[in-house]
Amino acid sequence: MRHITKLPIAVALLLLAATSALAQQPQPLAFGVLNQQSPALTAERWNPILHYASTVSGVTLQLKMGRTVQDTNAMMARGEFDFVFTNHNFQSEFDTIGFKVIARWAGEPIRAVIAVPADSPIHHLHELDGKRVSFPSTDAFVGYAVPLVALKRAGVNVEQMFGGNQEGTLAQVKAKRVEAGAVNSRFLGQYAEREHVQFREIYVSEGFPDLAVIAHPRVPAATVERVRRALLGMSSDPNAAAVLTAAKSKGFEPAVDRDYDGVRRVYRLIGQ
């Protein structure tokens, strides 16, 4: 009889212990990624990187993004991300949040490129006057802000079309639904290689630092540092080599907020 009365107590204690263990499991931190590609391609590129960074840092990171650039930016504005890979935060509307730059995508600086199909009769920027030009979105930096400033300076007015993301814009150029497309130089090369298509560049901007990894101010400094170290260590860790090759990445480089002053300046020129 004594055993029978003890059984429910033991079960309750076990349940309590299990619940408490579950509650103590750290929740993954949301790692937002800007829509430069479709969500599926973004996940294929970023999930191995985040898995590596989670394993090395001990901070569980989970990919999060919106369906569109606007959705992802809105999520960033609402504070739904603990870390973000973007450069849209350098628009003035995000200034008050206080994101901190912790690293950037390694490699050559990115440039805005306005490209046309290889067999296009258009060879110069001024020939685009009145023509349809695709941009990823109005929030894009090298895909919109930089080329728009260049077009304005050249006195060229174009009919603006939008492809949703970098590859969407290139797909529109490939399909010849637009006369030209403005994109990030990094994506132009990758897309041309993958899709076996040739483009001709009619405008190439100065270089800007590639997208940054930024941390939300609510994330404890120690956690930010662990993630930063894991990302920066990827390029020298043989265990990360396969991940970086698959992601066509050279890893991450140290970066600070003032590296992006040039980006802020261009955004302000177009009123963002």
């Binding site: 969500p39 599926a40 996940a43 999930n47 191995p48 898995h51 990919l63 993004m65």
Partner: protein
């Protein structure tokens, strides 16, 4: 005596012809049933594989409503009788099986030619190492019956055409 022997031989020959024809028909039907089953299985695999990237796009951004709509649109012809999406750990995310499966219109005897159960096909919706879901689909029996019945009708029509010439 002579005429009854002739009648007997004629009867035996007729029975033999009927038996041989029916046997041929049965073999033919079995082959067609197997072929239809293989075709349906291939179609299921093709559709489920095509659904993968579409579902991944929706699941990465957490848009379950769109994922469900994608599956309902892909299965508009009710090729699948059971359509479910599971979490990697086996928990059900949603069931997008058609609510009212259309009747095949095939006669009852055709239903005896199709297997009792059709194999479930599973596709992992993942961007490694993250598995966003497991799509499980089962081809519908009605679809198989309809296909087989259409085959039989074509076969009968061809035989008739052959005999009337």
């Amino acid at each position: 005596m002579k005429s009854s022997l002739r009648a007997l031989l004629l009867g035996i020959s007729s029975v033999a012809i009927v038996v041989v024809t029916l046997s041929g028909l049965a073999v033919n039907l079995r082959d067609r049933s197997n072929a239809a089953q293989v075709r349906l299985s291939e179609q299921t695999e093709r559709l489920a594989t095509a659904a993968g990237p579409l579902l991944l796009d929706s699941l990465v951004v957490g848009d379950l409503a769109r994922a469900e709509q994608t599956l309902r649109n892909l299965n508009a012809d009710s090729v699948w009788s059971l359509v479910t999406l599971y979490e990697a750990d086996g928990r059900l995310i949603f069931d997008a099986s058609p609510e009212n499966l259309p009747r095949s219109g095939a006669p009852r005897w055709v239903k005896h030619l199709v297997p009792v159960t059709l194999a479930e096909h599973r596709v992992s919706i993942s961007a490694p190492p993250v598995v966003y879901g497991i799509l499980a689909v089962t081809p519908s029996m009605q679809s198989l019956e309809s296909e087989l019945w259409a085959e039989i009708q074509t076969m009968i029509a061809a035989k008739r055409k052959g005999t009337t010439r």
